[in-house]
Symmetry: C2
Subunit: 344 residues, 2 copies
């Protein structure tokens, strides 16, 4: 069988060499800008390249050089509002450095992650940006390490082993909770992801920090940790609103959760902020456009993406940072109109 039949018949360095009547090595030298090529030969080669519309074959280059100029980015779900900014920024930065982005959706399923890591190993990607489904799973960690390339975790904490960009959910949630407490709320519910994952864990910690100074009888915070999804937000909010006494304030501690929470509030016929105060634990277009607008914990997804790539590029350029680097990205509380003083 003819080799490479499906690759089309793109010109190779051999064709260029023949056309310019030089050796392939010389063409390679021209392509890679080596100085030791005479003006005359360089001209002939350049002309041949243009005449043939030659483009180097990156697969062959990767084969020879042992580097693919490819970085993989694996996220749970790219349709979640926040991730778009991260990916946009990461792609742009990678592109500017000559890298290509390989995107994978994990759905937060371990088997997909494992399968993915195998593919990435086989594909010989140069680096890896990932939000894993677990921080403790040994098999997962092992497989990540086995890929054998620089890794940056997104909002995950395996800090002894891997670089990471983390978000200060703790500080953000603390500020949000303090705002609510300052308004007289004490029956506040935090809905967030399971505490085995950093975002949920840190939000819970911040929540508890805010309550720490209060007298015992005012420590009425309740935590529902189980997921980041709109679905979870809807179910838990509905349950909470049906309980008695019901919370007077709610914090939606997850990227996709706000919509479910608002839906539940609305379907129960309650008004924000008169009947109930709401804070979003992650900012989004949605938070800024509801009526009233929703007070939210904000951070820059673009910075998150850029910093992740920056860390990667440092490693790839061989700056041998001995220890894992863990960068904490700050959050700020954007005050809008969804929180009001408590009323009995």
């Amino acid at each position: 069988m003819r080799i490479g039949s499906s690759m089309g018949d793109k010109p190779t360095i051999r064709n260029v060499a023949d056309t310019a009547s030089v050796a392939v090595g010389t063409v390679s030298r021209v392509l890679n800008g080596h100085k030791s090529v005479s003006i005359e030969v360089r001209r002939r080669v350049t002309e041949a390249i243009e005449a043939l519309e030659y483009e180097p074959n990156r697969v062959a280059q990767s084969m020879r050089l042992g580097v693919t100029r490819t970085v993989a980015l694996a996220v749970r779900d790219i349709s979640l509002p926040g991730f778009g900014f991260v990916v946009n920024a990461a792609e742009e930065m990678l592109r500017n450095d000559g890298y290509t982005l390989l995107l994978s959706i994990t759905n937060e399923q371990k088997d997909r992650e494992l399968q993915l890591l195998r593919i990435l190993y086989q594909s010989r990607v140069d680096a890896l940006i990932m939000a894993t489904s677990s921080e403790e799973d040994v098999e997962l960690c092992d497989q990540i390490e086995r890929v054998g390339v620089p890794v940056v975790l997104l909002d995950r904490d395996v800090s002894k082993k891997f670089d990471s960009i983390t978000i200060d959910h703790r500080g953000g949630t603390r500020k949000a909770t303090e705002l609510l407490i300052g308004l007289g709320h004490t029956r506040i519910a935090l809905l967030t992801g399971r505490s085995s994952l950093r975002p949920g864990r840190e939000r819970i910690a911040g929540f508890e920090e805010a309550f720490a100074g209060l007298p015992d009888r005012e420590r009425n915070g309740v935590v529902r940790a189980g997921g980041f999804s709109a679905d979870f937000g809807f179910r838990e909010t509905s349950a909470l609103l049906a309980s008695s006494p019901r919370p007077t304030a709610l914090i939606a501690g997850g990227m996709g959760m706000l919509s479910g929470m608002l839906q539940a509030i609305r379907s129960r016929g309650l008004k924000v902020p008169d009947d109930i105060s709401v804070v979003a634990g992650a900012d989004s277009e949605l938070a800024g456009l509801t009526d009233p607008e929703i007070t939210a914990v904000h951070w820059s997804g673009a910075d998150e993406g850029r910093l992740a790539v920056q860390l990667l590029l440092n490693r790839l350029r061989g700056f041998k940072e001995p220890a894992p680097q863990n960068i904490l990205l700050s959050t700020e509380l954007v005050i809008r109109g969804s929180c009001a003083p408590v009323r009995e």
Copy 2:
């Protein structure tokens, strides 16, 4: 210089062969499931593979086979609400077929697209899904064809040359406009992208179709075609609301545009739907969560992504469809609470 030094020292088929005391060809046969391998040898090879944790090098396979099992997807901006679903679905379907997704952001800039196409050519991707910045630009078309692989355009119409998945914006906008006209509105403004691109062009056509039956003095539709962005939506809405007589109904004909439009309406102190009726030309989480919820033209982004990949896979599997395939994805009008009868 040692070759492949940065690739780590992953075991090769050679190592497996040595460990199992067989020839590399035999290992290859085992890997690729050829029948003509004795039980005994197959066992030895399998053991060696596991012992060494060997994984085939896809770069080498690509080199040899002339196929990379990689598909590129290029969109304007992945943070736009709608694209996430398309990409999610496309990635899932590609993965199930053993393909890997390469994602690029074009920002709707021609130079980026051109640069990208060069990289994709060099990378020898197997296929291409793309929403181009232009349907007429000859250079762009030429470069797309030069990549020499199956292409599916997303909501673009170059139907003589390329496969495409297109959305029925025309029907959707017609239905939206008819709804508004039925409510007594005639001073309706459509904000959408430039008419040189299919989505804008088709929305304008649907808009005009809806007005076609009306007597001349009621044909007061106005079109502002120039962009799909929230920014454009804000600016044009602001201008429109300041004009006199101002429109009584607005259609936001773009994926990211609704937010800008609502912001402009709000900053002018107007209420939806009492002061002004609004329809979103693209549905989103936002449209379902404002108060009132926004009536919107809806379609399935997931279907869009899946169909695009389906078309690609058909081509890649060599079903030689002679002519370009152009699939039209239907839209429906989701009636919510943002449209009210006109009042003077």
